[in-house]
Amino acid sequence: MKAMTSKEVTKKIFNKEPLFILDVRNDTDFQDWKIEGENFEHLNIPYFDLLDGVEEILDQLPTDKEVLVVCAKEGSSVMIAEMLDEAGRDVSYLEGGMKAWSEHLEPVKVGELKDGGSLYQFVRIGKGCLSYAVVSNGEAALIDATRMTDVYLDFAKEQGVEIKHVFDTHLHADHISGGRKIAEATGATYWLPPKDADEVSFQYQPLEDGNVVKIGKTSIDINALYTPGHTIGSTSFVVDGKYLLSGDILFIDSIGRPDLAGKAEDWVADLRDSLYNRYKQLSDDLLVLPAHFMIIDELNENGSVSEKLGTLFAKNHGLNIEDEAEFRRLVTENLPPQPNAYQEIRETNMGKISPDIENQREMEIGPNRCAVR
């Protein structure tokens, strides 16, 4: 019996390798959220139904492919993996369980910048969150950083760059931002859209339409573009004239939902204007880099998530609804369930409450659910 890390599982997803997952969590948790890969198979049998032995499920487990036992925090998967080991099966368990899976970030290089700098996407594969590092001439800017702040700080150290600016495209409702913590640790400037920051309890730099920030000695421009709709402050960025960081406004196969701050009816018109007017004026050649992906099919060959804006205008259903009333219906009715603990997450990101790390983990459990399709 051996441990398999989240990083190793991520590699299998990126490389489309086969894996058989025996998920021993209860049925509700499994249905809500699981590890998905193009060539992954699943069998869900709760650990508490296997306490008397694993003999009954042996014939359901393949012997010709890798088997990974998964549970919430590791303990139960170790127990079941040990039982399978004793029964003569060669299996692994997921180190740290779904908690570790939810926290794993995989940096993927998205592309080059004009002056030789690079843009990296941090794929939070278990939860579908995407954050970014713009690196140029010894300096870096981070966008939508998660609470796993060490990953970004270590990344900056490895690259030999200093983090100068930290941005959040909006006040997040599905995950806890690491922006403020990173800014405090590095002395970087923390930017937030002021319209999302009415109630925040800390100092920040107001991020407004038309702001331009330069990274490195030469000019990597980060242009802020006010695109409300998911939240009233939601802001996109055009980086280096080539990349469109769309936050939670536009995704690859869906669009942002306007209801997580309780204002769906009010914000529909803003959302439509951002997508159908403001984005429409931008170059079709921009590479859209959203703050989330929803399904594993959205991953490119190298594991990154991106698509040309022109392609999205042709293919994304949410950008192709001519009738305004129909658009309104789509984004206000039959919305998916809200993200787990989204109110508490918003309050944490405002600095109103400071839950401990265990609670932060619990709050973020599950998929992101920021989109409407």
């Binding site: 209860n26 049925d27 509700t28 948790d29 709760p46 650990y47 508490f48 139904d49 306490l51 549970c71 919430a72 925090k73 303990g75 139960s76 127990m79 619990e362």
Partner: protein, 75 residues
Amino acid sequence: MIVAKVLDAKGLACPMPIVKTKKAITDLQSGEVLEIHTTDKGAVKDLAAWAQSTGNELLKHEEENGVFMFWMKKA
């Protein structure tokens, strides 16, 4: 409600609360009630699901100061 036995599983991580519950309930007679104390939040859903799959009846559960308490009636 008459409690036949109290199981203190505080401080134990998954899967131990359920492993101990299963052991403790085998010693009871049908219809007797086991009271379980645990600090593992995951046990809330798991004990309910375990009760369903075994036929034991989860009479109620409460939380007090981070301790989750369950009353389980043996099938």
